[in-house]
């Protein structure tokens, strides 16, 4: 995980290192100041040497200025290093996600990917900043300050050593104890918020059943549990401050006692004692920082792991060697194909059929009969587990993927429009298309008519997810978008379910007249959408049970007849 992430530091290695270098220098300057201070006291004040005070004072100011400069520079470099690494991580993830195949995508939820790209990256960014600033600063401070105390007095430095060990152990124990407690708190806390979310969404159910009090009782119980867990966790954390104070005060008292004796005995100067008091603070503060940084970094570990997972996910679909860049025609052939989303669970079994270029094929079957699975194999959105899928007489795996997908246009069942104008959206099919071409495909998809009723026509802005057009309109725009590719094969996966039957008929009529050479595959729930297709495939439980014309199927296929009758009885009169 660390290896994956550190690879993304790239051009910000320089900034990261500079930040650490400047922090180190800042620490060194800070450590020098008390020593100079001691010499002012001992050689200036005690001996009444004013000139020495001026000289040393000037030097101290220079040192403090240097320290200021280094501090500012390290802050600057830490900022560019951490935000830069965050940028690189986002890019790396996003680029890799773009390489994902459908089956890679199926592994992650949309929300999961969004969280990784946003919150998780922010967490890692903060942790990284912590590392290049605090993690360098605190240990250096500890080491340098410790070194100085040894130089001043080996005997007194033992006090510091004792303090470090004691405080280190105590803080360690606190962190170790608090950490799992906090993890538990946050889990419960998330659950609590999830239940609020549930209540907000289902408020009509709650009110319809008059279950307000029941829900309140449930909530209070959960809320109470969070309260108790929180107190348990924070109880540990509040020990930090007093423990720290305790050690500091103990050090001061010991230093006062031993220091006084040593000064009187002449083995220590007053100035040195004063600088030791300053070092007490420095050393203990750095220990405190280390424990804080440790918590922060541990908290971000989970985020880092989630990011690394996305970056390391390898796409399981790629071009073969010497890919073919030309699709001859729109014929399709399945040769004993089996397919499953998970290993060992095949949803398609021994699928075997041929479709000639220009044919119109309908596919009918209940949910779970794997209608979508079959068609998704044609533009190679998934690879088969056994058997071969051929387009234009060639194995789909031999084509360049982009070439294949441009020739096999697919309108997905779960389709989306993107924020932008209608023109922008349709142009997804072909970025260079002229306005005439766009209008032509929209007329084909029976979308032009309603687009013309919008005040801004083709420049109408579609909101995110296409929420400002109706379901039927959205579907027609999606069809137009696919048509703009001028594909050799067009697949509609339940893409006219929200369109009224009359428009549905018009769309199919337009297909027949305007793009006769294109192979058309239409998945539908409504029999009326497929009944005039050249042939209709009836799927059940991942197998083709019947394949023929409407009239044949009415006579021979029990399933088809069942569906037909239930719909005609409901839908009434024939058109």
């Amino acid at each position: 995980m660390i290896k994956t992430l550190s690879k993304q530091i790239k051009e910000f290695k320089k900034d990261s290192i500079l930040s650490i270098v400047f922090v180190t220098m800042e620490v060194i300057f800070e450590i020098i100041i008390p020593i100079l201070m001691a010499s002012i006291i001992d050689n200036g004040v005690e001996k009444g040497n004013i000139n020495f005070v001026w000289g040393m004072g000037a030097l101290m100011i220079v040192v403090a200025m240097c320290s200021l400069f280094c501090g500012v520079m390290s802050g600057k470099y830490a900022a560019s290093a951490s935000t830069g690494v965050a940028r690189n991580l986002r890019t790396a993830m996003f680029q890799n996600i773009q390489k994902f195949s459908f089956s890679n995508l199926d592994k992650y939820s949309t929300a999961g990917l969004v969280t990784r790209l946003t919150t998780d990256v922010t967490n890692v960014q903060n942790a990284y900043q912590m590392i290049v600033r605090l993690c360098a600063r605190a240990p250096f401070m500890l080491i340098f300050a410790m070194a100085m105390t040894i130089v001043i007095s080996g005997k007194l430095s033992l006090i510091f050593l004792g303090a470090i060990v004691f405080l280190g152990v105590v803080l360690g124990v606190i962190v170790m104890n608090a950490f799992p407690r906090f993890e538990q708190v946050f889990k419960k806390y998330d659950a609590l918020n999830a239940s609020v979310q549930e209540n907000v969404n289902a408020i009509r159910v709650v009110k319809a059943y008059v279950r307000e009090d029941y829900e309140i009782k449930k909530f209070n119980k959960a809320s109470d549990a969070v309260y108790r867990l929180f107190i348990g966790a924070e109880k540990m954390v509040v020990l930090n401050m007093p423990v720290m104070q305790f050690v500091m005060y103990a050090c001061i008292l010991l230093l006062s006692w031993l220091g006084a004796k040593m000064i009187v005995a002449g083995s220590l100067t007053t100035g040195e004692l004063m600088s030791l008091f300053t070092y007490v603070m420095n050393i203990l503060m750095s220990l405190m920082m280390i424990s804080m940084a440790f918590v922060m970094i541990t908290l971000s570990k989970a985020s880092a792991e989630r990011i690394a997972e996305v970056i390391n996910e390898e796409s399981n679909l790629s071009n073969g060697e010497n890919p073919i860049y030309d699709v001859k025609d729109g014929s399709i052939e399945f040769e004993h194909v089996a397919f499953g989303y998970r290993e060992g669970v095949d949803v398609l079994k021994n699928i075997h059929f041929q479709i000639k270029a220009g044919e119109t094929i309908g596919i009918i079957g209940g949910t779970g009969s794997s209608k979508s699975s079959i068609v998704q194999l044609i533009p190679r959105l998934y690879d088969t587990t056994a058997g071969t899928v051929k387009v234009g007489g060639v194995d789909v795996r031999a084509y360049d993927i982009e070439t294949l997908r441009d020739e096999v246009a697919m309108v997905l069942q779960k389709n989306v429009l993107f924020s932008g104008t209608i023109n922008d959206n349709i142009r997804w099919g072909n970025a260079d298309a002229s306005e005439e071409e766009i209008q032509r495909v929209c007329r084909l998809a029976q979308a032009d008519e309603f687009i013309q009723t919008f005040p801004q026509k083709y420049e109408t802005y579609i909101e995110q997810g296409g929420n400002n057009v109706s379901g039927g309109q959205k579907q027609r725009l999606c069809i137009a978008r696919a048509l703009l590719k001028k594909p050799k094969i067009l697949i509609l996966d339940d893409s006219t379910s929200a369109v009224d039957t009359k428009t549905d008929t018009l769309i199919r009529k337009a297909f027949l007249e305007e793009i006769p050479d294109t192979t058309k595959i239409i998945i539908a729930q409504r029999i009326s959408s497929v009944q005039d297709a050249d042939r209709i495939m009836v799927l059940n439980d991942g197998q083709i049970v019947d394949f023929g014309t409407h009239d044949e199927l009415i006579r021979t296929s029990e399933i088809y007849r069942d569906v037909y009758e239930s719909q005609v009885k409901g839908g009434g009169i024939d058109e």
Binding site: I33, I41, G44, V45, W54, A64, M65, L68, G71, V72, G75, K76, A79, S80, A86, R90, F94, Q98, K99, L105, V114, E198, V200, N201, A202, R204, V205, V206, Y209, R211, E212, Y227, F230, I231, E234, P242, Q245, A250, L253, W257, A260, G266, T270, G366, T367, L381, R405, L412, V416, F418, S419, W428, G429, Q464, D500, S528, V563, S566, G572, E575
Partner: protein
């Protein structure tokens, strides 16, 4: 991250209210905390002051003495040890008590928000984005908790430290104190400048973060479409553009934020150095009796002066944000609850020997309306039957925008009434009026002859069963979810209801059967299965009147058949209102109402309406789009 983002004006009102909220429950706690903070700060000050005596009284006089006595020093140090120990205990004490105060306040506040939210009318949920409501629970209460437990005590302690240190400094040396104050002013100016610079960039960063998040969400949602259209390259380009912009402002924002700490720290160092120089000179000439020990103490004080200033500038932001959050919390708490002026109650009914209805303590399976007449002070009982009448009802979500006009309808007990029409015709709205999710503008709705405004809302709703269009399930077992309809239902009753709803078969096949835990609104179930559970939930409640809003999303034929059968069984013997999306299911209704733009334009049974060759006929033959 979002420092400075909420630099909004904070009204004094919510500060006062928040304070009184905390004081209501934790007055004593707060006083003790304040005392302990003062004590802890004083211990620190006394300790630093001691340094003067240490050098001037206990060290310097003994230098070069033959047999120095350290008894006095030992004595003094013992005294200090006691003070220090007490200070340490005080520090622990106030931090510990503050947990209680902050967590306790948040607990009470959270519970109050939730129970108040449950009492709000449906309209509130219609007019407020769910994300915004959630944010009150997550963001607002969280920042508030952090403020109470961390920012507030730190702020108080910082103020007390600054004041006590300042007083001590003045006692030690007036000139040095003036020097330090000049430096503090410089530090404040620097802080303000850096903070305002970083604030601007943070606002930029926040905006661009929003923009890239929006883009990411949209693209992840449409990732499969991106693949199908081979749009990966274009998408990456657009993403990188936004990413670069974000980097730019994040870099600047963090740069200034990062500079603040070292700048303040090192300005503190410069202050220390200046004081050391000037102090040294003062000590040499012993101006105003200034001694070496005094210098030592003073220098130590300048060190403890820096920290609180940095703290205060950091905490101020947190406090402003938290108060803005508490404003949103109070706003929710101040929303007015659903009003209920009904007084007619629903009671268990028994039959007296003379055949009249009596009130029963136990559940009898029969229900009656208990009607108290104010005019003559009598109470009458009337059986619950399920007769619903709409008399010339007008309704609008806002008073000036009427969406339903002159709705008249009569539903006799046991009848099936269906509503048909295009999206937005007002089908769902009508059913929302029966259970008073919304109140009507004009006309009357009568339930068993009683104006529904006179019926207690809870009792009215209890008598109506609803199966909503989008099914909502709760985190919990299947059993608990069905039992939601009748909390005291036995396991057998729940299973019987599931059988009636055709849900039993699939529930049995779940890993833990009825004890299978559902999460995320039943995410592990199919749409059809969730609907079956919703039907079972209504079945266990066993209401005399049912409102069924059919699901729009297509479910497969086999499950649909099951759902339909379940609904049919549930409808048996009840007054039913059906909002139909598939006309096949309502052919056998007693009355079908065709709605268009809030008016009933056709009414009659299936045969009559087909003969009429109007809108219903067109819908039925698929010539018109309906949802």
């Amino acid at each position: 991250m979002s420092n400075n983002k909420t630099k909004r004006k904070v009204s004094g009102g919510s500060i006062k209210r928040l304070t009184s909220y905390i004081m209501k429950y934790y007055k004593v706690h707060c006083i003790i905390v304040l005392l302990l903070i003062v004590f802890s700060a004083l211990a620190n000050v006394v300790g630093t002051m001691f340094m003067r005596d240490l050098i001037d009284v206990y060290i310097l006089p003994f230098i070069n003495q033959k047999n120095p006595s350290f008894d006095a020093l030992a004595h003094a140090l013992m005294g200090m040890a006691v003070i220090y120990l007490a200070g340490t205990v005080a520090t622990w004490g106030y931090n510990r008590i503050m947990i209680q105060v902050s967590q306790g306040t948040i607990l009470k506040m959270r519970n109050e928000i939730f129970s108040h939210m449950e009492s709000l009318p449906i309209k509130y949920f219609d007019t407020h984005a769910h994300g915004d409501i959630m944010s009150v629970y997550t963001n607002d209460t969280d920042t508030l908790r952090q403020m109470i437990s961390q920012s507030l005590p730190q702020m108080v302690s910082a103020v007390i430290t600054v004041v006590s240190v300042a007083v001590s400094m003045i006692i030690l040396s007036v000139p040095l104190t003036i020097l330090t104050f000049v430096m503090v002013v410089v530090m404040l100016i620097v802080t303000k400048n850096i903070a305002s610079k970083s604030g601007k960039h943070f606002a930029d960063q926040q905006r661009r973060l929003g923009s890239i998040n929006g883009y990411i969400e949209e693209m992840m949602e449409g990732q499969k479409v991106v693949k199908v259209f081979c749009h990966e390259e274009t998408t990456i380009q657009e993403f990188e553009k936004r990413n670069e912009e974000l980097f730019d402002s994040a870099n600047n924002a963090n740069k200034y934020a990062n500079i603040l700490m070292p700048a303040l720290g090192n300005l503190g160092n410069i202050n220390y150095v200046l004081n050391a120089m000037v102090g040294a000179i003062l000590a040499i000439y012993s101006v105003g009796g200034f001694t070496l020990g005094g210098l030592a103490s003073f220098l130590q004080f300048t060190k403890s002066f820096n920290q609180p200033i940095g703290q205060m500038s950091q905490q101020l932001n947190a406090i402003v944000m938290a108060i803005a959050g508490s404003e949103r919390i109070f706003k929710l708490i101040d929303e007015s609850s659903e009003v209920d002026e009904g007084y007619v109650e629903l009671v268990n009914a028994g039959t007296a020997e003379d055949g009249s209805i009596t009130e029963s303590e136990k559940r009898t399976g029969h229900w009656a309306w208990k009607h108290f007449h104010q005019a003559d002070g009598t109470t009458t009982y009337q059986p619950l039957e399920g007769d619903v009448v709409f008399d010339d009802v007008d309704f609008g979500y806002q008073d000036d925008k009427i969406v339903l006009h002159n709705i008249k309808l009569y539903a006799k007990p046991g009848e099936k009434i269906a509503f048909v029409g295009a999206t937005g015709a007002g089908k769902t709205t009508i059913t929302n009026l029966i259970n008073r999710f919304y109140d009507i503008q004009d006309g009357k709705i009568r339930y068993d002859g009683i104006n529904i405004n006179k019926i207690k809302k809870a009792d009215l709703r209890r008598s109506l069963g609803i199966v909503l269009q989008d099914t909502h399930l709760f985190t919990g077992t299947v059993m608990e979810n069905i039992r939601f309809g009748k909390l005291d239902a036995t396991d057998e009753e729940v299973i019987a209801a599931a059988r009636l709803a055709n849900a039993d078969a699939f529930v049995k096949h779940l890993p833990d059967g009825y004890e299978t835990v559902l999460t995320g609104d039943g995410a592990n179930l199919s749409q059809g299965q969730r609907q079956l559970l919703a039907i079972a939930r209504a079945a266990v409640a066993d209401p005399p009147v049912l409102i069924l809003d059919e699901a729009t999303s297509s479910i497969d034929t086999r499950t649909e058949k099951l759902v339909q059968e379940g609904m049919d069984k549930l409808m048996h013997g009840r007054t039913v209102f059906v909002i139909a999306h598939r006309l096949s299911t309502i052919k056998n209704s007693n009355v079908i109402m065709v709605l268009d733009q809030g008016r009933i334009i056709e009414r009659g049974n299936h045969e009559e309406l087909i003969k009429e060759k109007g809108i219903y006929y067109q819908l039925y033959t698929g010539a018109l789009e309906q949802d």
